[in-house]
Symmetry: C2
Subunit: 235 residues, 2 copies
């Protein structure tokens, strides 16, 4: 696969795509914020493909340019062998991937539409986020995570769901280590899965390289500042 | 297929699922708001399947219970023959379905998180919504809508993308007729597609029946009142 990714220089939604490409050993080209803004701002008629917002993905072999993170993850997973090809398992995987997308929207207070107030943040962290973590934990328990027999969640036969689970909870707790204890308490098996994903050779190399470039940058912008301010108020 | 749908008694996200089932002539059972709230409020461990919010879908034959509208649409479309089984076409279809989900979140001011102010509404209606309509129009032009040759958008070989396009723009302009002219101007071919979908026998019967029950109810609640107030201020 020869491809290009257009996303901001932060992990957040981009790492759902990058982690699959990295794990599969696929080389890809990334683009500057200026190029992304140019595509995003063009009149729809002039766009290479009609899109609202990044991540954008370009499969050069098929000259297929499109957006929407879960659609990109689904496509490259089919191409690179990260689906199960079982309609029920892949449906449950898509459900979890869409849950991930909702979690990203929620932790950024609806994609950064407003800065957090501490009351709203506490309601999110100690109720909604806790519940999201429990959803993944319970899902893993019922579908084989603890045995690592690899039906849906587990690293034996890795799928996009494992990598998406790392991209949502592994990234969150790596970049905001104050939340690691929340994950350990609400989702001990998911926390252990994230550690196993991190230990995969290509993933580990990629994340260490990015850590040097980006430090603990998470979603970026004013909303990341707001999240970190809330975390400091929680203490 | 023997199945159950758990969604509020409004079209909004529910009709993305109902329209496929209706078009395919599948009988399904719906559930009361009380039952939905009960499932939604349970501790995650006690839930039949770990879920945050409706729509919930239960395939009784496979005893598969799950949520997330795009995952449900994808699953029933595979089961009932509303996908193309071409990875590229179905990927673009999923991209458009996720666009639909974003449009629903946006027209309700991020799923009803706040009531609309008129300035924000005008920015939405005359910029974002216009752009979303243009995305679908342009997509249709490039992928065969105008010729109705049915690659992705068109009623000759109907797919979930056609029904989702009706569910987003047909429902919006049927329930809020003041927006029909916006669609006619920004997306004339999509507007015509919606009329053709409406004319399908099972769809037409279903929508007329619901019209008698629900009138022009769209997403319900305070946010629907807010949308209608904004529309009246636009005049």
């Amino acid at each position: 696969m020869e491809c290009r990714l257009y996303y901001w220089a932060v992990p957040f939604r981009g790492d759902f795509i990058r982690l699959i490409l990295e794990d599969a050993g696929i080389k890809y080209q990334e683009h500057s914020p200026e190029e992304i803004i140019e595509i995003k701002s063009q009149p729809i008629k002039n766009q290479l493909f009609p899109v609202m917002a990044p991540p954008f993905f370009h499969d050069l072999q098929n000259d297929l340019f499109f957006n929407q993170m879960p659609a990109i993850v689904n496509y490259i997973s089919h191409k690179l062998g990260y689906v199960t090809n079982d309609i029920i398992k892949d449906t449950l995987g898509l459900k979890l991937l869409l849950d991930c997308n909702d979690i990203l929207a929620e932790i950024t207070n609806l994609n950064g539409s407003q800065m957090w107030t501490h009351d709203d943040w506490k309601e999110f962290r100690f109720n909604r986020l806790k519940r999201w973590m429990e959803i993944f934990e319970e899902f893993g328990k019922r579908y084989g995570l603890s045995s690592d027999s690899g039906t849906m969640l587990g690293t034996e036969n890795i799928t996009f769901v494992d990598l998406a689970t790392y991209a949502v909870f592994g990234t969150m707790t790596r970049c905001i280590p104050e939340l690691k204890n929340d994950l350990n308490i609400n989702s001990p098996n998911i926390s252990a899965l994230c550690d196993r994903i991190y230990a995969r050779k290509n993933i580990s190399l990629y994340l260490k390289e990015k850590q040097e470039l980006w430090g603990d940058l998470y979603c970026g912008g004013q909303i990341e500042e707001s999240i970190r301010k809330m975390i400091s108020l929680d203490k």
